[in-house]
């Protein structure tokens, strides 16, 4: 445009000059000497103007071309693969071109820098995403529920166990108020209360921990949970437990302790029960001893009675301790079991030998299976003997005088099992009490009237037969018409 304008201007100037020269020639032939002088001056001025216009036109043309070249050069600088070589100016515009080149180079460097930063950020973003997914996977592997709560009481993060426990979707719960998502008031109170605690030290543990009962699935069964809320400290804190500053976020870990609690309660109940059972004979021993010391037994018969009671209670205490230790060893798995081929008929004969005097004293007919069958089990001889002895002892104890106790061995060849039955004509066990007779310290009501007992004999039978020897034990009874206790064991492989 500039070129065409300047050329047009030059051409117009030349044209005007030629027209003027034409007119001048015409005038020259007609003009006076003064008019000729003016004409000459005019022609000279026009000539000079035209020349100047032409020169300007040429210069503009060249400038335009130079600028075009410069534009093309600058334009090319930004393209990938451009050499970046310096611009050779034909019009002496080196300063301008060098300045443009420098600016362009700076821009290029900046672009390179930004590209490198962008790549770095991309890498960090990928790593961060990987780390985030890894952390999520780690959290989801926890059985404990983990919830991260921000300062606005919104859920920032929750693992799968938390979602399962409180019935929410992990991803949908994010940034939602904890009060809306978690339907558990004790937990919400704990989080609020935790905000009032200044640090994560041991001293504040009691205020940061909460045990609560919760029915997550609406089944009506309350389960027990233990929740611990910990402030998330900034990573640069040297000692997280005492650091006072906080990110405002809190991690709450919720662990189900129902089984632990039940086990602890059972243990506590057991210890309490044992304490009671041990103190009961001790009470008798102490009371009767004091009566003797204070001279409250006025005659020899009374004194002998007291001595007898003390002796009996001492024996009871001793049996109780023995049985407890035995049961405890069996339950904890530390009992030493010496298995061997044991003849059951021989065990029956041994028990009969021991129990006959007691039976005879009550005029009870005690009969054992005398058939010399070859029935063996692979078992601990002493334990099987103890189990049978306990059953026969009970049968004799709780059978009134002139009753009968039978010990029978029954072989079930098809099942490869042997059953040992102890049947009595005693007071029996009421139907409602049958499910409890093998429990520790349980004593049938009417049995307590008839004789002393530890309440552990049948439990020991159960432990020996079922836990140690993988057998079974059961009872059938008609109230006041006697009972039949049966234990069953697998027959030894060498037999049959």
């Amino acid at each position: 445009m500039l070129v065409s304008k300047s050329i047009s201007l030059g051409v117009a100037a030349l044209t005007a000059l030629f027209v003027a020269m034409g007119l001048a020639y015409y005038q020259y032939t007609q003009a006076s000497p003064l008019e000729l002088d003016y004409l000459k001056l005019t022609l000279m001025a026009l000539g000079a103007g035209a020349s100047a216009a032409l020169l300007v036109a040429v210069l503009m043309n060249r400038l335009d071309a130079e600028l075009r070249r410069l534009c093309a050069y600058v334009d090319n600088l930004g393209r990938p693969g451009s050499s970046g070589s310096s611009f050779q100016s034909h019009l002496g515009m080196h300063d301008l071109t060098e300045a443009v080149l420098r600016a362009t180079q700076r821009l290029r460097n900046r672009v390179d820098q930004l590209s490198a930063q962008h790549r770095e950020l991309e890498i960090h973003a990928r790593l961060s995403d990987f780390q985030h997914r890894h952390n999520e996977a780690v959290l989801n592997a926890f059985n404990d529920a983990v919830i991260v709560v921000n300062a606005a009481q919104e859920i920032a993060l929750a693992n799968r166990a938390a979602g399962d426990l409180f019935g929410f979707c992990q991803r949908e719960a994010r940034q939602r108020s904890m009060d809306q998502v978690v339907n558990c008031q004790p937990l919400i109170r704990l989080v609020r209360q935790r905000r009032q605690v200044s640090d994560n030290s041991d001293e504040t543990l009691a205020r940061r921990r909460q045990e609560f009962r919760f029915d997550p699935d609406g089944s009506g069964r309350m389960r027990v949970f233990d929740a611990l809320a910990t402030d998330l400290q900034p990573l640069n804190q040297a000692n997280a437990s005492t650091a006072k500053s906080s990110t405002g976020e809190m991690v709450v870990v919720i662990r189900e302790i129902t089984r632990d609690k039940e086990a602890a309660e059972q243990k506590s109940e057991f210890v309490s029960r044992v304490s009671h059972e041990l103190r009961t004979p001790l009470s008798s021993i102490r009371a009767y001893m004091e009566m003797l010391i204070d001279g409250e037994a006025s005659d020899d018969d009374t004194r002998r009675e007291f001595y007898s009671i003390i002796q009996g209670e001492t024996n009871r205490l001793s049996r109780l301790i023995d049985n407890l230790l035995c049961i405890s060893r069996i339950e904890s798995g530390v009992v030493k079991v010496q298995r061997e081929l044991v003849s059951l008929p021989q065990i029956v004969r041994d028990v009969l030998d021991v129990m006959q005097p007691q039976a005879r004293a009550k005029e009870i007919e005690l009969v054992g299976d005398a058939a010399p069958r070859y029935v063996q089990v692979f078992a601990d001889r002493d334990m099987i003997y103890q189990a049978l002895l306990n059953l026969v002892n009970n049968a004799v104890k709780y059978t009134p005088a002139q009753g009968r106790v039978d010990i029978m061995i029954e072989v079930q060849s098809d099942l490869r099992r042997v059953n040992v039955h102890v049947a009595d004509t005693g007071v029996g066990v009421p139907v409602e009490e049958i499910p409890h007779v093998f429990e520790k310290f349980y004593r049938v009501r009417q049995h307590k009237i008839m004789a002393q007992g530890t309440g552990l004999g049948l439990n020991l039978v159960k432990q020996i037969i079922e836990r140690v020897h993988a057998g079974t034990v059961c009872v059938k009874s008609n109230n006041k018409q006697g009972s039949t206790f049966t234990f069953s064991l697998p027959i030894a492989e060498d037999d049959y």
């Binding site: 009470s283 008798s284 009371a287 009767y288 009566m291 204070d294």
Partner: protein
């Protein structure tokens, strides 16, 4: 209540030896002793005989001592009978629970018959342990 009735003590325990030794101790001290081996039986005897004091074991089958005391307190005719609980398990009541119940004393097993007698005298007669109750 006349003097003869004041001296009735009901002993409730599922252990025969305990019932026997306490009976002996209290009878030797001039008290009339009634025996029961469980809470249900004790309730019937208490309603019928209105003893001056009930001594009961804490842990008994079917109805424990605490429940027995509550049932005695729940009945008009027996609500004023003080109760003493003997426990091998450790039973702790705070002052408010004591104030709101008819339980006058809790003693641990194994117990001393002497101490039982002292406590019985205090609860029935309000007298120091050296004094004998009226027979």
């Amino acid at each position: 209540m006349d003097d003869a009735e004041k001296n009735k003590v009901l002993i409730v325990d599922d252990e025969a030896h305990i019932r026997h030794v306490m009976k002996l101790k209290l009878e030797n001290a001039g008290f009339e002793v009634l025996l029961a081996e469980d809470g249900e039986q004790a309730l019937e005897i208490a309603i019928q005989h209105l003893p001056s004091l009930v001594i009961t074991d804490y842990q008994m089958p079917y109805m424990d001592g605490l429940t027995l005391c509550a049932m005695l307190r729940g009945r008009e005719e027996t609500r004023c009978i003080p109760c003493m609980i003997l426990t091998a398990r450790g039973l702790h009541l705070d002052q408010e629970e004591f104030n709101q119940s008819n339980i006058a004393s809790v003693m641990s097993k194994p117990f001393s018959p002497r101490e039982i007698l002292d406590c019985v005298k205090q609860l029935i007669d309000g007298q120091p342990s050296s004094q004998e109750p009226d027979s």
